[in-house]
Symmetry: C2
Subunit: 285 residues, 2 copies
């Protein structure tokens, strides 16, 4: 199943056996002091920097989240979306829990961005899906509900079904729903990834929709995070993840490797081209 | 299903939900000029060096292969097995296509080594299985037959069934058969790993036996081999590989990561302990 996302000038297609699409996670002030401070003062230069760096590192789509204490998201999210759109040609993923901020960002965002996100909670389904329908864009559906994030795969699958059904009921096609089965830290519970991987596999089998996840959570509080994220990504991509939300600079090689192993890189052309670019960059520096 | 392997002083148990067991691949002269030359002159010092280095890098079992042009395997394999057994306490995997060399090595090897290997070929089944039965040891069964390595998963699965049936028919228990579904280079065929991963998954579902593979083949002729091997290993371990044959120094971190993601490392203790050892070693050097 294919999800089409675009900026004013560039289309990215997720799924259909294509190579994995990377959604760049770094325009998000959570845990980033410098970005959070810049956003609080209305300074979008750090946002522009991060946009350029992520696209250079291989991000295909950029998540844009400006949610931090002291930031007026309703005012700032549209400005950040415009700033990023002027800086790079990557399609965007508009990331906010504030429905008004999402509406304001959708009103100014060129192309066909992703809305991040709706959940299985009634209030969220009722608020977000009509906005998504109005703009005719794709939406990320998080498999959590009023009780929080389920521990088991069964409940996550049931929530994914509900989100897809509710979207389809108001005319949002299934291919525009991207499910996020949600990863938790292995540092807190070393069985956490098993349930998520099972949920990903079953969402793929049952619904065939595209799937994202913010995969760096998995290694929160642990050492060797890049290796751990890479191992998780390899398994999750094999299971059905098609557009992970990641730090491209850290995990692009793991993702290119996973795509090559899974037969999604004919003649290893992307893998080898990326290696040569890195070699050339190292020689030039 | 558990396979028990031992040296004179140490037992290693493969399978049963335990962490992945690493079979060190480096005592093998293929592509190693210095080792091949040493072996030709009967010098086992390089073999001892490689044994120590691999155990230090995290190998649990050591493969011992001395097959090279100009080497009398019948004379040298038992000597190499004795040399490794005197140097480290890791159990061994006796690796030769020469049945007499395997018999001579089994006669001198302490503990319970693995025989590497039998294939689905009639001549191999008829020769190797009685020797394995005589010594009561585990054996690696390669899923190839008179027609070579099958391209598809179906035929590999059928050969795995045949090897297990023939072993059981002469009293070798199923837990002592370790199946190798065989990886080919992605550089030659970018769809090669898909068939192997499918075969691994189906061998696990059908036979529940332990499984090995010489995984570094996958990246032959390609750049960024460690990343590619790591992505493949993560997927193959998730699918059912329990004792890959690898260069421990290169892929141990990827394997520790895969085990942690799959819930086989309670409280991440192995993962964190290995990180601390590496930190301490870096500080000391």
């Amino acid at each position: 199943m294919e999800t089409r996302v675009s900026s004013a000038t560039r289309e990215v297609i997720i799924g259909g056996g294509r190579p994995t699409v990377l959604i760049g996670e770094r325009i998000n002030p959570t845990g980033k002091k410098r970005l959070a401070e810049a956003l609080r003062s209305g300074d979008l230069s750090v946002v522009r920097e991060e946009a350029l760096a992520q696209v250079a590192a291989g991000a295909d789509i950029l998540d844009v989240n400006v949610g931090a204490t002291g930031v007026d998201e309703l005012a700032l999210l549209p400005l950040a979306v415009q700033a990023v759109s002027e800086t790079v040609d990557a399609p965007l993923c508009l990331d906010s829990r504030n429905i008004k901020a999402l509406a304001a960002a959708l009103a100014v965002c060129p192309g066909r961005p992703i809305v991040n996100s709706v959940t299985g909670e009634e209030a969220s389904l009722a608020q977000v899906l009509p906005l998504v329908k109005k703009y005719g864009v794709p939406v990320i559906g998080l498999t959590l509900d009023e009780k929080g994030i389920p521990n088991d795969a069964d409940t996550r699958l049931a929530i994914a079904h509900r989100i897809v059904q509710r979207a389809e009921a108001i005319g949002i096609p299934r291919e525009d729903v991207i499910i996020d089965c949600l990863t938790l830290s292995l540092g807190a519970n070393t069985k956490a990834a098993l349930a998520t991987l099972e949920a990903v596999r079953r969402v793929k089998a049952d619904l065939e929709v595209n799937q994202t996840q913010g995969c760096s959570n998995i290694s929160h509080g642990l050492p060797n995070r890049i290796a751990l994220n890479g191992a998780y990504l390899a398994m999750a991509i094999e299971a059905g993840l098609t557009c992970p939300t990641v730090d491209a600079a850290q995990v692009r090689l793991a993702i290119l490797s996973a795509d090559l192993v899974l037969g999604r890189d004919d003649y290893a052309m992307r893998f080898i081209a990326t290696f040569r670019q890195a070699q050339a960059a190292a020689t030039a520096s």
